[in-house]
């Protein structure tokens, strides 16, 4: 990967030679989950990270949000070094993990009961927050579902609600860990469009971890390919398809060429990975 050092000054997310070992033992043995990560993401940029399972994609998310500290190197977000959980981030995962005893509205409101400054104003401003949550739910096609319980919603609807929960405190950065992995193909494409529209409207940064190459190319400005054992970024691919992108674009030759190219990188990596494993 070749990045111009000058870009680091203005980057919103800035990884500088980041290494992470899960514990002291592994660190001493020189076994790292992710190695030498250098990454500069601009304000409002949508990046996707693809790679084989177990390559440290989720670890990368924990590093970005400050849930894990790097063993070596430095991480800056919004110009400040990351030294603890980063409240300007929202997270959503493959499992919607909504709380079954709360209505959809109350599930979406949960972060506001925890994060400051909303936490201390929650009782006083409840009406305002409820209106905000309703508007957010309506924007992802869940208008009128506020009083439904999660078990009354379909899988796709639950995942929409889960994304609303990640966005309710208006984070500057949205981190998604294979958020559409458990959905059927049609629902998944619908949610791509939902996410595309949300990001276009609110301009937050997105870091999307996925193993679906079409998803990454359709949604992201930049796709990073990660290798496995150790986790490294091996390819950075800028996606210069024009925005707004429509689902139709996924059937154009330009789109499929990029998908093929990325597929080639991953295929090559799997081969060398396999031979490396045999030679060990």
């Amino acid at each position: 990967m070749s990045d111009t050092p000058a870009a680091t000054d203005t980057a919103f997310v800035d990884f500088r030679k980041v290494w992470l070992a899960y514990n002291e033992d592994l660190h001493a043995k020189g076994i790292f989950a992710v190695e030498d990560i250098n990454l500069q993401v601009q304000q409002g940029e949508f990046i996707a990270i693809v790679g084989p399972s177990g390559c440290g994609k989720s670890t990368f998310m924990k590093l970005t949000t400050g849930l894990k500290r790097p063993s070596k190197g430095q991480i800056f977000v919004d110009g400040k070094p990351v030294d603890g959980p980063l409240k300007i981030s929202g997270m959503a995962f493959q499992a919607p993990s909504l709380l079954p005893w709360r209505t959809t509205l109350d599930n979406v409101l949960l972060p506001l009961e925890i994060v400051e400054p909303h936490r201390s104003q929650f009782k006083a401003k409840r009406k305002e927050y409820e209106a905000r949550a309703s508007a957010l739910l309506a924007s992802v096609g869940l208008g009128g579902m506020e009083q439904k319980f999660p078990w009354q919603l379909s899988g796709g609807m639950q995942q929409r609600a889960s994304i609303c929960r990640a966005l309710i405190h208006e984070p500057k950065m949205l981190l998604l860990d294979e958020p559409f992995g458990a959905l059927d193909a049609f629902t998944r494409e619908e949610l791509w469009c939902t996410l595309r529209d949300l990001q276009a409207a609110q301009k937050f940064n997105v870091i999307l971890v996925t193993h679906d190459l079409r998803e990454s190319v359709f949604l992201a400005d930049t796709v990073y390919v990660m290798s496995k054992g150790p986790g490294r970024f091996v390819v950075k691919r800028h996606i210069d398809l024009p925005r707004p992108r429509d689902l139709e674009i996924t059937y154009t030759p330009e789109f499929t060429d990029i998908v093929h190219e990325l597929r080639g990188h991953i295929g090559a990596m799997r081969k060398t990975g396999a031979s490396a494993a045999i030679s060990q």
């Binding site: 924990k62 849930l67 005893w101 009961e113 925890i114």
Partner: protein, 255 residues
Amino acid sequence: MNRKQQEAWAPWVLMAATIIIWQIICSAFNVSEFIFPSPMRILEQTIEHSSTIAGHAWRTFWVTMVGFAIAIVVGVLLGFLIGSSRLAYAAMYPLMTAFNALPKAAFVPILVVWFGIGVGPAVLTAFLISFFPIMVNIATGLATLEPELEDVLRVLGAKRWDVLTKVGLPRSMPYFYGSLKVAITLAFVGTTVSEMTASDRGIGYLLISAGSSMQMGLAFSGLLVVGIMAMLMYELFSYVEKHTTAWAHRGSQGE
């Protein structure tokens, strides 16, 4: 009659059938009432001694409730402690399991030495026998937290306490109510067992004194009354469980 109605009637039909067969056997073989009284004879004795039985039953009931109340408080607190701290879990769980394996009736003589004959040993036996399931269930509920959800909340600056109160405790409520149903029946066992050796009142005492004076009908009445009380309390907590944690009974969580 549809399947639901059949299920609702099934326990009553089975009970009636059992009583009828019991009565038939006793009458047909002319079984002595000092060996095995017939249902009719038990009913007669129950009515004849109803005021005595009611007095003993009331005593057993409130003693059990006091022991059970202590069990809820202690069980919830200990469950919260070992469910929220790995260290506390590691330290206490083996000891608690060993304690649970001891027969609680064996404590009664010791409790008599400490507290004398009467309410003390009965309350404490009811407590000792019934706090364990409550503790285990609270701890289990707290410990089964999805790591993803924990990340979602931790990144927002949630403290351990926030996660416990917003997610852990509500999640453990179905386990808690489930455990109350089991614990209340155990508490009745504890009280009755204790009263049999260390009390001059209560159903346990009634059983022993009826047995020693060969009033088998009365002894069976005592058993009947304890059984009914335990069953009613079980149904009560079952009702509370269904109406407070309905979300847990929809079978749609996480599948």
